[in-house]
């Protein structure tokens, strides 16, 4: 809550700053990402937690197992691995700039804060399947955490502390030195920018500093049949839909997407997904909620054709009639929205220091 308040203040400040800037240049205010304050100790703790497999039920996977740092903190497989024993039914989105979002998941089903998102990811059976009470006791058995939680001001290791520390780490995952932000777009990218806002009509939905309107649209992305043809993925899909209250979940043959927000009786909201940010796309292939498109040129070709086939497809999508060169320029622009790769120790916990230690004077100390 207070993170968001602080962010809102910052955004106001940034907007003001940009407005002044606008007088002397052509920079566009909403293209600037707000600067956020980061508590270094809390973020460092969050980083160690993010890469710790003991945050999952059987201690086999961490947040980073699906949000791969070498893939822009997104999943490199079309469908994320999910929890052992099952697969997942969507492609884990990038966590870079996720702190700027106002709702999360491809279907936008959580619109509160990253604390709730963290809780959901750790506890859902198809993602990390962790009983957070057990997680808390695991962390208390690791002296490094005992110290880090204390130093971060969270007291002893706790579920609440985890749900605060991980979002604090996520604040560090923001675009760094993207050509769009440093005003270093190539000539081709600049041509692409014009197409993006004009003939390509991309900016109808991909607006603002995140290049997302934060709304759900149906673009007709083809269904990923692996969700249904692989029982490991299908079981996660069924469990999720059962949990979300989608009727007739056994017969579902498509991902209903943001229908879980609106549950429209006529089903016209089926197949809508939240407009993703276009930042850091260079690293986050494959694309779309289900990883069905492998490369950026293919994404541009997809939109050039007016999107995919779907009876609920958005009316905003039309054939674009972009030339081959125009499509290339558009891809150049999209690449210009990606900054430095976040793959250094600043963003990855590379120390192999995860362990449990016996409490030797067990009978004499308080639990």
């Amino acid at each position: 809550m207070d993170i968001r308040l602080r962010m809102r203040k910052k955004i106001v400040l940034t907007t003001l700053f940009s407005s002044c800037f606008l007088l002397s240049s052509n920079a566009i205010a909403q293209d600037m990402l707000a600067v956020v304050e980061i508590d270094a100790k809390k973020a460092e703790l969050g980083k160690r937690l993010f890469f710790d497999t003991r945050l999952s039920g059987d201690a086999a996977i961490s947040c980073a197992s699906c949000h791969e740092p070498n893939n822009g903190f997104a999943s490199s497989t079309a469908l994320s691995p999910g929890y052992p024993g099952n697969g997942h039914f969507r492609n884990a989105p990038s966590l870079i700039n996720t702190i700027y979002k106002k709702s999360w998941f491809h279907d936008g089903r959580i619109g509160t804060n990253l604390n709730d998102v963290t809780r959901s990811m750790i506890t859902e059976d198809y993602s990390m399947n962790m009983d957070m009470r057990l997680m808390q006791e695991r962390l208390k058995q690791d002296p490094i955490y005992v110290k880090m939680f204390k130093d971060a001001g969270y007291g002893e290791p706790s579920n609440g502390g985890v749900r605060k520390a991980i979002p604090e780490f996520l604040k560090t995952l923001t675009s760094k030195n993207a050509p769009i932000d440093t005003n270093q777009l190539s000539a081709s990218a600049k041509r692409g920018e014009k197409l993006f806002k004009g003939k390509g009509s991309c900016a109808q939905c991909h607006t603002g500093p995140l290049f997302s309107d934060g709304k759900a649209h149906n673009t007709g992305v083809a269904e990923n049949f692996d969700i249904f043809l692989k029982p490991s993925n299908h079981q996660a899909f069924i469990a999720f839909n059962m949990f979300m209250g989608n009727e007739n979940y056994m017969a579902l043959k498509r991902d209903v997407g943001a229908h879980v927000q609106t549950h429209k009786a006529d089903g016209t909201d089926i197949g809508k997904f939240m407009t993703p940010s276009l930042r850091e796309l260079k690293y986050t292939a494959p694309y779309m909620h289900n990883g069905m498109i492998k490369t950026l040129p293919e994404v541009v070709a997809f939109y050039n054709a007016g999107g995919g086939q779907d009876k609920n497809r958005s009316v905003l999508l039309k054939k674009l009639k972009l030339s081959a060169q125009e499509q290339k320029d558009l891809v150049s622009y999209l690449q210009g929205l990606s900054g430095d790769a976040l793959v250094s120790d600043t963003y990855i916990w590379n120390k192999e220091d995860y362990s449990y230690q016996v409490i030797n004077n067990w009978l004499d100390v308080k639990n």
Binding site: R54, S56, G57, D58, A59, A60, Y83, P84, G85, N86, D125, Y126, N129, D131, R133, L134, Q136, E137, R138, K140, Q141, E223, F225, F228, L229, K230, P231, S232, H234, Q235, A236, I238, A239, M242, F243, M250, K253, R254, G271, Q309, D310, K311, Y356, Q357, V358, I359, W362, L363, K366, N367
Partner: protein
Amino acid sequence: MQLQPLKQKFISINKLCALVTFTLTALALPLPASAQEVPPLAPLGEVPIPADNPMSEAKTELGKILFFDGRLGGDGSTSCGSCHIPTLGWDWPDNVSLGYPGTIHWRNSQTIINSAYYGKLFWAGSAKSLEGQAKSAAKGGIAGNGEDDIMEARLALIPDYRKRFNDVFGDNWPKVSNAWKAIAAYERTLVQRDTPIDKYLAGDKSALTDSQVAGKELFEGKAGCVQCHNGALASDQKHYNIGVPPLKRWEEDAMAQITFRYELYAKGSTEEMYRNTKGDPGIYFRSKLPQQKGMFRTPSIRYTKHTAPYMHNGSIKTLADVVDFYNRGGIAKDGRSSAFIKTKSDLIKPLNLSVTEKKHLLAFIESFSGDKITEEIPALPEYAPLFSIEELKEAKK
């Protein structure tokens, strides 16, 4: 809490008396043996079958397969049979049970054999039926760690299960609640009723050796075992603190320490209790009555020849050690006893058994076990996609 109904205006005197009697009975500690009529040892009768879960061959066969299927759990790795291994006494041969990957359990895995006769399952009697036990074990964070929705989704994607659940329960899609019923039905087939003690009590006086007969006298007399280990099951299913000390492993094993604290936390403790408790409070978690801390439900003596180690935390390795433990008055080899010494049962006193008497007693205890019961682990049915590509292509037009 129990006084609340007294405030109601129209409560009848009869009801009031019944309530007071009930309350007093519930709170009363077990009476000393001398004042107590205990049911005599008896041959084990027919397995009780609950009215809402009748037996059938198709059901027990389904239950057998499910018992060994790890997909009824969190990550597909841990089935009932993982901690209840047929060749190892249908339990786990370590002090505390194997537990879910990434954890260990905090209590000893109990044998499945004759579990059908209990009205209280688990060491603290937290389940009232085998159906309830199977469900709790499959879902518990340090046991199966499974969730209903994904377990049910898995069953739905296994064609053989779809057919079997339909045949047995009429389910269109397998219901996970029926999986527990099938498993419970299977467990009701895992009984042993032809042990030497069963034969002896049925009239075959040659079924016990002279030593065992001498042991029986001690069991029912000087050693006082029958005060709690009575009736056909050799368990009164009541709760006692017999003085079993906390497991040493809790002082030496980091994973065990994690689980210990988790259980205190998850089962509901005050902060004061969570911080300071170093022994398993047992049945306390059911009643939240301080005078029940450290009490556990009396286990059956049947099949114990095959189920070492013993006690709720598996801290006693052999049956001979168990006899020694009781002979010392509920005190372990190293002199330790219960962490909740105030609730230790008055029934547990030094027995002054001679070496020979202990031998007889041990021999008699072994008469409660027949041969090992084994099981061929069934082949598990495989997943298959629910839809064809053609059906999927039709879905979005």
